[in-house]
Amino acid sequence: MSLTGIKAGASPRGFLSSPQDAGGLRSWIFSTDHKRIGLLYLACILTLFAAGVALGLIMRLKLITPGNDLLAPQTYNAVFTVHGVIMIFLVVIPSIPASFGNILLPLHIGAEDVSFPRLNLFSWWLYLTGAVVALVSIFTGSGAPDTGWTFYVPFSERTTTNVSVAVMAVFILGFSSILTGLNFITTIHQLRAPGMTWRRLSLFVWSLYATAWVQVLATPILGITVLLVFAERVLNLGLFDPGRGGDPLLYQHLFWIYSHPAVYIMILPAMGVISDIIPVFARKRIFGYNMIAFSSLTIASVGSLVWAHHMFTSGMSDLAVLVFSFLTFIVAVPSAIKIFNWLSTLYKGSIIVEPPLLFTLGFIWMFSVGGLTGLIQGAAGADIHVHDTYFIVAHFHYVIFGGTGLGMFAAMHFWFPKIFGRMYNRRTAAAAFWIILLGMNVLYFPMFILGLMGMPRRYYDYPAQFAQGQLISTVGSWILAMGLALMFYNLYAGVRRGAAAGPNPWGAATLEWTLPSPPPSGNFAEIPEVEKGPYDFAPDPRHD
């Protein structure tokens, strides 16, 4: 699309510029424009991500040698709890859907906004409220929560720390997530542009759709669960307390009924991002569109049935171990299919290596490590040994940071020129990527070994035989931090001083690239008629 597509009189800064009479912060925090809301989410998420990373670095520093007393035991316990709560509930779960989902969903389907723009803004306010309440729980009352992000009973009922406030924060955040999911499902059903059939949806939208269903149907279980923990602490209700006839394992069931599917809330949108980026840089239609879309739905649905594989050592029935181990292995298949489809898309393409593709390849590698080590945990017997050890810590950091994190960074580098109308320095971005990749592996790989050696997680101190791995891991954390700093600095510089990017720097074929960068407030001057699929590149594709 040429520059003539820009509406006459449209600001070159598109939705980023405010009307004359309503500038400033208010025009952002009360805006119902999905792109502004998406950017607000992105800003909050990245800020909290930085906070979470800082806590992670502190923990790694504390663990650099055995017997180190940089942090008091109670402080360490609070730090890993807060690191988990921030990273899971405030960063990773909303990460891609709330930020890029909001920005891109209406653009991808050719709509002027989501179905319920005011509800969308309300979701963000709820998110902000949840974040504030979470912060309040850290700095007030009898000390930051020290339960781990899982809030397992009966410990979470007994500890005197500020758990009651923390679980309310989780409840509020859950509500925010539900409303976003509900909004997205309605939008995808109702607001697709003429000609935008289900089979012309981008795979990113498909992944958002699958994710949204998990958000709507699983999150309420978390809501009621944390409400009950709150009620046990504050109202003296006794539903999980073993001293009063309660069954603490039921808490774990309820918790994981949400929190396992939450892993798919985290990873599916990243897979969607990857599915959208690969064809663009291979200049080739996505391989197996139907299978990828279908596997998103399969992962979301079967993935909701495997929760108790977090409980193989909990003392639940052996039959349940059998059933959930089996279901867990079944859900591995659609993930494998996605990987093979991505590889086949690269096969015989005409590949141009740009930062978004680098992060995408990083995603494939890291997610493969995380996914494949997950198989060890799915196998009932092998899981017993590695459960609740550093092996798990390594596994989920590979999946969530290596997967969702790199997916998010890929999305940031891919859609950056669209959102800001500028380009970052691509060489610096590539350098940052390699440093991040190196740092992640030095940080997390030793944890697999530590876990196999028997090092349990959530230990503020450890016996001497684990010292070497812990030291390497801590060094890795510094490499990773440098890489992240470089990447964020580069993006920030791009926002400030980057060269103008033009409407479609990558030569991509989804609808958002037909708009000027940044897109104008109302998106499309008129609702487009869609006549081709999201990956049907023009015959002479190369833009340069």
Partner: protein, 404 residues
């Protein structure tokens, strides 16, 4: 024996290596493919992309093959899980109790201890539970892990084939000292095990403190762990913080210690978390008494050493035992004699007997000795036993003079 003699560790490890090997190959192929494609089909080398977007045969293959592979993994995983769960019928049962933040192991004869002693070559069945929150019982060397859940008993088993010590960890986060909830499996020859078991449980106070897991949180050497140290308690005071934040001083005496053990001391000790679980109804009275006696420095069955007590309480700083006059009258020859005191401004003769000594200890300013400054402090913290012991001590010094 009964088909259960399969080596669990080998079974688990076989599953692990099978999955690990398969995964490593797959990972290698994926990584290789991405790198190869990016180089081989780089736009410089391969400017025109091929135009295909599906291949039914390939898709069927790469759905079917992973499905078969994961089903095989599932099968092996389940087999090794069954090996872990299939407890041999001839196993010796040991009860395992987790509590914040220590393990305790109880054998069939009621003997308990903080480490798990097992005989070589014999399967040991562990019946595991918890007194407070969920803990995780983990022995990496045996690939054994199962949660200790309050209100429930879970089971595991292990069999040691080589003598030695194997670490036990807690794997479910359980609060402040989760990282220090360590113990070990001590594997010894069956003969050694039998003789160890035959020794029976120690019954002295220290052994009992160990038995009831006190020493996981309270050191005997003065160091500060989760709870205050139990060293040199007699005559000390504790600062309690009540729930409303007010602080008060209490004497560490028998009543206090007993209340503290059952969770009734009415506040937390300043500088510590109120994390001590209540032992109400869990410790037989005679064991409780033995522990308290030990903590208060009493020899069980023997009276307190009055001389030592007088020294510890600082009496001898003002009262000599050799007749010389310091700040107060000498203890030598004091007991059993008449002495002159000031009672409400008047000089009165009183007999120094047990009642008088106790009165002075409780309220020295009431009837101070004539010729001395009324500077003696009160000793409200002394227990009745301690007072008796001091009386006895004074009596012995007085008796000495009479015998002259």
């Amino acid at each position: 024996m009964n088909g259960q003699a399969v080596n669990v560790v080998q079974s688990v490890d076989r599953t692990f290596y099978f999955i690990f090997g398969t995964s490593a190959v797959i990972l290698f192929l994926i990584a290789l493919a991405t790198i190869y494609f990016v180089i081989r089909y780089n736009h410089k080398r391969h400017p025109v992309p091929a135009d295909f977007d599906h291949n039914t045969l390939a898709e069927i293959i790469w759905t079917a093959v992973p499905t078969l592979l994961v089903l095989a993994m599932f099968y092996y995983g389940w087999q090794s899980f069954r090996a872990l769960r299939g407890i041999p019928e001839d196993a010796m049962e040991v009860k395992v109790v987790g509590r914040m933040w220590s393990w305790s192991f109880e054998y069939a004869d009621g003997r308990t201890g903080p480490i798990l002693v097992v005989p070589l070559g014999k399967p040991v069945k562990l019946a595991i539970t918890s007194k407070d929150v969920i803990h995780g019982f983990y022995v990496p060397a045996f690939r054994v892990k199962i949660d200790a859940v309050p209100g429930m008993t879970t089971y595991a088993w292990l069999q040691a084939d080589r003598p030695g010590d194997y670490e036990i960890y807690c794997t479910v986060y359980c609060g402040l000292e989760h990282a220090k909830m360590l113990s070990r499996v001590h594997a010894v020859s069956p003969e050694e095990f039998e003789s160890w078991l035959a020794q029976g449980q120690g019954r002295d106070g220290k052994a009992l403190l160990e038995k009831h897991d006190c020493l996981g949180c309270h050191a005997l050497d003065g160091s500060k762990l989760v709870g205050p140290s139990l060293k040199d308690l007699p005559g000390r005071q504790a600062t309690l913080v009540e729930t409303d934040g007010r602080e008060r001083q209490v004497a560490i005496d028998e009543a206090y210690l007993k209340a503290a053990i059952v969770g009734d001391k009415g506040g937390r000790v300043k500088g510590f978390e109120p994390s001590m679980p209540s032992y109400r109804g869990q410790i037989p009275p005679e064991e409780l008494q033995a522990m308290v006696d030990f903590l208060l420095g009493r020899q069980p069955g023997k009276p307190l050493d009055g001389a030592k007590l007088a020294e510890e309480q600082g009496c001898l700083g003002c009262h000599s035992t050799d007749g010389s006059i310091l700040v107060g009258p000498s203890f030598k020859g004091l007991f059993g004699e008449k002495t002159t005191v000031i009672d409400q401004g008047r000089e009165v003769e009183v007999l120094v007997d047990a009642d008088f000594v106790k009165e002075v200890l409780a309220n020295p300013g009431k009837r101070p000795a004539k010729g001395f400054d009324p500077v003696m402090p009160t000793y409200p913290d002394l227990t009745p036993e301690q007072k008796e012991a001091l009386v006895g001590y004074l009596m012995s010094l007085g008796h000495e003079k009479h015998s002259h």
